[in-house]
C-alpha cells in the first residue's frame, strides 16, 4: 500500500476512522496542536444564538450555535449530525459499495467515487490504464468547475446580487447538462468502476469554451463591485496549518492533492496550484475563480477521452488507499478488501478541516459576514454527517 501506517509524515489531511491521515502516512497520532477546540465560556451579556438546522439560509441541515455579545461572533459551533446517515458498506461487494459511495455526496460523487475506486484498485493490485486516468481527471475537473460555480453563486446570494447569481447558476446548469451528455448522468452516477470510466469528451471543449468566456465576463464584473469586495476583504481570516483545498491555498499554503498525491497523473496536465496569501473570504473566492480557469485549461489539454468499458474485477484480497483533490480539498479513502468484499472502509472528508477552519475564522467577525464565510469554505454537511457501518 502506498500509504503506510506509522509515524506522522507530511501535511495533515484529516481524521478518518480511528486514524489521522497525513500526506505520506496513516497514523494514530494526531498532529500537534490539533486538539479539540476549547469550549467557549459564556461571558456576561453573551447569548447563544441558534441558527439552523432548519432555516432559510442553509442549503443543508447544520446546527450552528453562535455565542455573541451582539453583532460580533465570539464563538461558533457547528453540529453536522442532525441528519446523520448510517451507510452500510462493510461486507458489501465492490460494485454495490460504489453505489453507496456515489451517494455520500451526490454533488461531489466523482471525487468520492474516484478516490474510493483508486483505493480499491490498489487493494486489488490493479493498474488503471492511461485512458481511464485521463477520464477521471476530466470528471474531477468538470466537477470542480461546477462546484466552484455553485460556491461563487452562493457567495453572491447574501449580497443580493440577483443578476450575477442567476448567471452563474445558469453556467452551473450548462456544465451539468454537458456532464449529463458526456457521462450519461449529471452527477456521474454509474460512470466509474475499477479499471473503467464511461465518459468521453467528444464535442465538449467547444461548449466549455463558451462557458469560460461567459464566466470570464461575469467574474470580472464581480471583482469590480466595491461593496461586494469590501464585505469579503479582510473578513474571517484564517491562516492556520490545519487547512485543506481552496481554503488552504487562499491562506498561502500550497496544499493540493493534484500536486502531492500520485493517485492521478496531473503532472501531464497544465495544472498550476492557485495560491493567494491573505486567508480572507476574498482570497477563498479568488482562488475558486482562478481554479475554474485552470480546470478549463486542464480539460482542454487532455486530448481525446474515450469511454473505457467495464472490466470484470477479480475477487481479490488486500488493502489500499488513495487521495484526490475534490473541489473542497483532499478526499482520502482507505479500503480493506477480503475476497472481493469490503472488510473495512473509512474516509477523510475535507469538510472536517473546513468546518474547524470556519469556526476559527468566525471569531471576532460580525454575523453579516457569516453567510459569505460559510459559503466560501464550500462545506458539505452530507459528507460529514455519515456513519459508515
Amino acid at each position: 500500500m502506498h500509504y503506510k501506517f506509522g509515524e506522522p509524515a507530511g501535511r495533515y489531511i484529516g481524521p478518518g476512522g480511528n486514524y489521522h491521515v497525513y500526506s505520506s502516512t496513516i497514523s494514530d497520532v494526531p498532529p500537534e496542536g490539533f486538539e479539540e477546540l476549547p469550549v467557549h465560556k459564556m461571558a456576561p451579556g453573551e447569548f447563544n444564538f441558534q441558527y439552523g438546522p432548519s432555516t432559510g439560509g442553509l442549503v443543508e441541515s447544520a446546527g450552528l450555535q453562535f455565542i455573541t455579545p451582539g453583532e460580533m461572533i465570539n464563538s461558533v459551533q457547528v453540529d453536522p449530525t442532525y441528519k446523520t446517515r448510517k451507510l452500510k458498506m462493510k461486507g458489501l461487494d465492490i460494485e454495490r459499495a460504489i453505489l453507496t459511495v456515489e451517494r455520500i455526496n451526490g454533488f461531489h460523487a466523482s471525487s468520492n467515487t474516484i478516490a474510493f475506486i483508486l483505493a480499491v484498485e490498489e487493494a486489488l493490485g490493479m493498474e488503471p490504464d492511461e485512458e481511464v486516468q485521463k477520464a477521471r481527471i476530466l470528471q474531477l475537473e468538470l466537477e470542480r468547475i461546477r462546484s466552484n460555480f455553485e460556491v461563487l453563486k452562493r457567495m453572491g446570494e447574501p449580497a443580493g446580487f440577483g443578476v450575477p447569481v442567476n448567471q452563474i447558476g445558469f453556467l452551473r446548469e450548462r456544465v451539468s447538462r454537458i456532464i449529463s451528455k458526456a457521462a450519461g448522468h449529471r452527477f456521474f452516477f454509474g460512470v466509474n468502476s475499477p479499471g473503467s470510466a464511461l465518459i468521453s469528451n467528444s464535442g465538449l471543449n467547444e461548449k466549455l469554451s463558451e462557458i469560460r468566456k461567459e464566466f470570464d465576463r461575469i467574474f470580472s464584473g464581480l471583482l469590480q463591485s466595491k461593496i461586494f469586495l469590501n464585505r469579503l476583504q479582510n473578513s474571517c481570516i484564517t491562516k492556520g496549518k490545519f487547512l485543506t483545498g481552496p481554503a488552504a491555498r487562499a491562506a498561502g499554503l500550497r496544499y493540493d492533492a493534484r500536486e502531492d498525491s500520485d493517485s492521478l497523473p496531473y503532472d501531464e496536465t497544465p495544472f498550476v496550484p492557485v495560491v493567494h496569501e491573505d486567508g480572507d473570504i476574498f482570497s477563498r473566492m479568488i482562488v475558486r475563480g482562478e481554479e475554474i480557469f485552470n480546470s478549463f485549461d486542464i480539460i482542454s489539454s487532455l486530448g481525446t477521452v474515450r469511454e473505457t468499458p467495464g472490466i470484470k474485477v477479480e475477487k481479490g484480497t488486500g488493502e489500499g488507499s488513495a487521495r484526490v483533490e475534490s473541489p473542497q480539498g483532499d478526499i482520502f479513502y482507505y479500503v480493506k478488501v477480503n475476497n472481493g468484499t469490503l472488510e473495512d472502509v473509512w474516509y477523510v472528508t475535507p469538510g472536517t478541516l473546513n468546518v474547524r477552519a470556519f469556526m476559527e475564522s468566525m471569531k471576532g467577525n460580525l454575523f453579516p459576514d457569516f453567510h459569505f464565510n460559510w459559503e466560501s469554505f464550500g462545506i458539505w454537511i452530507s459528507e460529514l454527517g455519515v456513519e459508515i457501518q
Partner: protein, 583 residues
C-alpha cells in the same frame, strides 16, 4: 415670612423622620404643596422651578411611603433635609443663602449614597465633585460681592461671577467642562431609587436654576454662551452614547440626566448668543419646558427602576404590571422626545430654537446648526437607550403581574401627568408664541408658534395632536375592536435550545462601531466586549496624580520641618499683602 414656612415644615419633617419615617414624607408632601402655593407665580418664569421641583418631591414622597422600608431610618430624614436645602436655594435672595442651601442639599445626599452601599467610593466621588462645585460657587459669590459690594442678588457688571458659578452648577449637573465624567451616574446610580429621582430630577435642576438666575443678572457675553454650547454639545453626545451602552439601569438613567442637562445647558448657551430678543424669549420658555419634562420623566423612570429587584438588566426578570408598563412607556417616550408627551414638545422647541438661530447666518448660525445636529444625534441615541430600559426592564420576556401595587399606580400616574402637561403646555408658553388656525379647528391660543421675528417659523398644537390620537384610536377600536392575538411556540431553527437576546447585545453595535471613541476592547476566548470611559480614566488619573503630589509635599516639603513651615508662612503672608494692596 410665610415663604419660609415650607422650609420650616421640611426641617421639622426631617426631624420627625428620624422617629417616624412616614412623617417625613407626609411633611414633605405638605411642605412641597405649600411651597407651590407660596412660591409659584405663573407670571414669573423663574418661579416655574419651584413648581417643577415641588411636583417631583410630592411624587417621590408618595412613592417612598411604601418603598424605603428596606433602607433604614436615615433615608427619610436625609431626603427631607436635602429637599429643604433645595427650597433654600429656590428662595435665596443672596449668595450666602444660596451657598447655605447648596451645602444643606449636598451633605444629606452624600449620607444617602454612603449609607446605601458597602463601598465608600460612590459617596466619596459624590462628595469630591460636590465640594468642587461648592468652591466654585463660593468663588463666584465672592467675585460678585467684590463687583457689586453686596451679597444680595443684583445686577453684576462683570461676567466673571456668571462663569464661576455656572461652572460650579455645571459640575452639579453631571458635566465637567469639555467632557463628561461618570461621577453623576456612579453617585445617582448608587442611591435608593427615590433618592436617585430627587438627585437626578431636582438636584441638577438647582444647577439649571442657578445658572439661569446668574444669566439674568449678568451682562451678555458671547464667550460664555459659546462655552456653554461647547460643553453642552460635547456632553450631550457622549452621555447619550454612554447611556446607550450602560448595563446598569440606574447608571443609564444617570447618563440620561447628563444628556438632558447638557441639552438645557446648550439652550442656555444659545440664549446668550441668540440674535433676537424674540428668540431669547422662546429659548427661555424652552428651558422651562425642557426642565419640567426632564424632571417629571426622570422621576418616573427612577421610580420604575426602583421596582426592579436588581439594578442590572440581567437581574431584571421580575413580573411587571400593566400600569407600570404604561407609566414606564410614557416616561421613556418623554425622555426620547416623542409625542404626545411633554418631552416631545421640549425636544421640538429645543431643535426649533437652534434651527431658527441658524437662519441668522454667520458664525453663530453655523454654530447653531452644528450643535443642533449634535443634539438631534444625541436625542436619537437617547431614544435607543430609553427603548432599552423600557424593553429589557419591563416588557421583554416578563410575565404580566395582575396585582396592582400602589407604586405601580404612581408610576403610571407620572406617565399620564406627562401627557396632561403636554396638553396644557400652552399655558406655560407666553402669548407671543401662541396662535391658531380656526379654519382647521385649531382655535386661537391652542397652537405654539416658534418664531425669531415677526414671521412664524414652525408650529405645533399639543391639544390637536392629543385629540387626533384619541379620536383615531377610538375610531380604530370602534371599527376593529381588540385585535385577535394568536400565540405560537418560538421557532428556533428546529433546535430545542432557546436563549434570550440580551440588553448587552442590543447596544453592542455602538460599542463596536465607535470602538475608537469608546476604546472598545474585544477579549480573547472566554471574555467579552469591554469599553473604557476615557474621561473617567482621565479623572481618576488626575486624582491619583494629585494624591501623589500631596504625598510628596507632605513627606518631602511640609514634613513638620520648621524651616519649610517658616518659608511657607512668609510666602503666604507676602501673597496676601500683594492682593490686599492691589484691591
Amino acid at each position: 415670612m410665610f415663604t419660609y414656612l415650607a422650609i420650616a415644615i421640611l426641617g421639622i419633617s426631617a426631624l420627625a423622620g428620624v422617629f417616624w419615617r412616614p412623617g417625613a414624607y407626609a411633611g414633605t408632601i405638605i411642605g412641597s404643596a405649600y411651597f407651590i402655593l407660596s412660591g409659584f407665580n405663573p407670571a414669573d418664569q423663574m418661579s416655574y422651578f419651584v413648581l417643577i421641583a415641588s411636583l417631583v418631591w410630592i411624587i417621590v414622597s408618595l412613592y417612598s411611603m411604601s418603598y424605603d422600608r428596606k433602607y433604614g431610618k436615615w433615608l427619610a430624614p436625609s431626603l427631607a433635609l436635602m429637599i429643604m436645602g433645595m427650597m433654600i436655594i429656590l428662595q435665596s435672595t443672596n449668595y450666602l443663602l444660596l451657598i447655605t442651601g447648596w451645602e444643606i442639599m449636598s451633605v444629606p445626599a452624600y449620607l444617602i449614597v454612603g449609607l446605601n452601599r458597602r463601598e465608600s467610593s460612590p459617596a466619596f466621588t459624590f462628595m469630591m465633585f460636590s465640594e468642587f462645585s461648592t468652591i466654585l460657587i463660593i468663588a463666584g459669590s465672592v467675585y460678585a460681592f467684590f463687583v457689586t459690594g453686596t451679597l444680595s442678588f443684583s445686577y453684576v457688571s462683570s461676567y466673571g461671577p456668571l462663569l464661576l458659578i455656572s461652572l460650579g452648577a455645571i459640575i452639579k449637573m453631571g458635566m465637567t467642562p469639555f467632557m463628561i465624567s461618570e461621577w453623576l451616574p456612579i453617585a445617582h446610580g448608587n442611591a435608593p431609587a427615590n433618592a436617585s429621582a430627587v438627585l437626578s430630577a431636582t438636584m441638577t435642576l438647582m444647577g439649571v436654576y442657578v445658572i439661569m438666575k446668574m444669566i439674568l443678572q449678568s451682562p451678555d457675553n458671547m464667550g460664555v454662551g459659546y462655552l456653554f454650547l461647547a460643553i453642552g454639545s460635547v456632553s450631550i453626545l457622549f452621555s447619550s452614547i454612554y447611556a446607550y451602552i450602560s448595563e446598569n439601569m440606574k447608571m443609564l438613567a444617570g447618563f440620561s440626566t447628563i444628556e438632558n442637562n447638557a441639552a438645557i445647558l446648550s439652550a442656555m448657551g444659545l440664549y446668550l448668543v441668540a440674535s433676537t430678543s424674540v428668540l431669547r424669549e422662546f429659548i427661555f420658555i424652552t428651558i422651562i419646558i425642557f426642565a419640567l419634562a426632564h424632571s417629571i420623566s426622570k422621576t418616573g423612570l427612577f421610580l420604575s427602576i426602583g421596582n426592579s429587584p436588581g439594578e442590572f438588566f440581567g437581574q431584571s426578570d421580575h413580573p411587571t404590571s400593566y400600569t407600570q408598563r404604561v407609566g414606564t412607556m410614557l416616561t421613556t417616550m418623554s425622555l426620547s422626545g416623542l409625542f404626545p408627551t411633554l418631552g416631545g414638545l421640549a425636544t421640538w422647541m429645543l431643535l426649533e430654537s437652534f434651527f431658527m438661530e441658524a437662519y441668522s447666518g454667520g458664525a453663530t448660525g453655523i454654530t447653531a446648526i452644528v450643535i443642533g445636529s449634535l443634539i438631534a444625534m444625541g436625542e436619537g441615541m437617547a431614544m435607543g437607550s430609553m427603548m432599552k430600559i423600557l424593553a429589557f426592564g419591563n416588557i421583554f420576556r416578563r410575565k404580566l403581574e395582575t396585582k396592582q401595587e400602589p407604586n405601580h399606580i404612581i408610576i403610571s400616574g407620572v406617565g399620564l401627568l406627562l401627557i396632561f402637561l403636554f396638553g396644557i403646555s400652552v399655558l406655560i408658553v407666553s402669548g407671543t408664541f401662541l396662535s391658531g388656525i380656526p379654519s382647521i379647528l385649531i382655535f386661537n391660543g391652542y397652537m405654539i408658534t416658534s418664531r425669531f421675528g415677526p414671521a412664524d417659523f414652525g408650529l405645533i398644537s399639543p391639544d390637536y395632536i392629543l385629540i387626533l390620537i384619541t379620536v383615531f384610536s377610538l375610531v380604530a377600536y370602534a371599527v376593529f375592536r381588540k385585535p385577535r392575538l394568536r400565540e405560537v411556540p418560538v421557532w428556533n431553527g428546529g433546535a430545542v435550545e432557546v436563549d434570550s437576546y440580551t440588553s448587552f447585545a442590543f447596544s453592542n453595535n455602538i460599542r463596536l462601531m465607535l470602538k475608537r471613541l469608546l476604546r472598545t476592547k474585544t477579549g480573547s476566548l472566554g471574555s467579552s466586549v469591554t469599553v473604557i470611559d476615557v474621561f473617567w480614566l482621565l479623572m481618576t488619573d488626575i486624582g491619583k496624580g494629585y494624591k501623589a503630589m500631596s504625598k510628596f509635599i507632605t513627606l518631602r516639603i511640609m514634613n513638620s520641618s520648621i524651616g519649610w513651615y517658616m518659608i511657607y508662612m512668609i510666602a503666604a503672608f507676602m501673597v496676601i499683602m500683594v492682593i490686599a494692596v492691589k484691591m
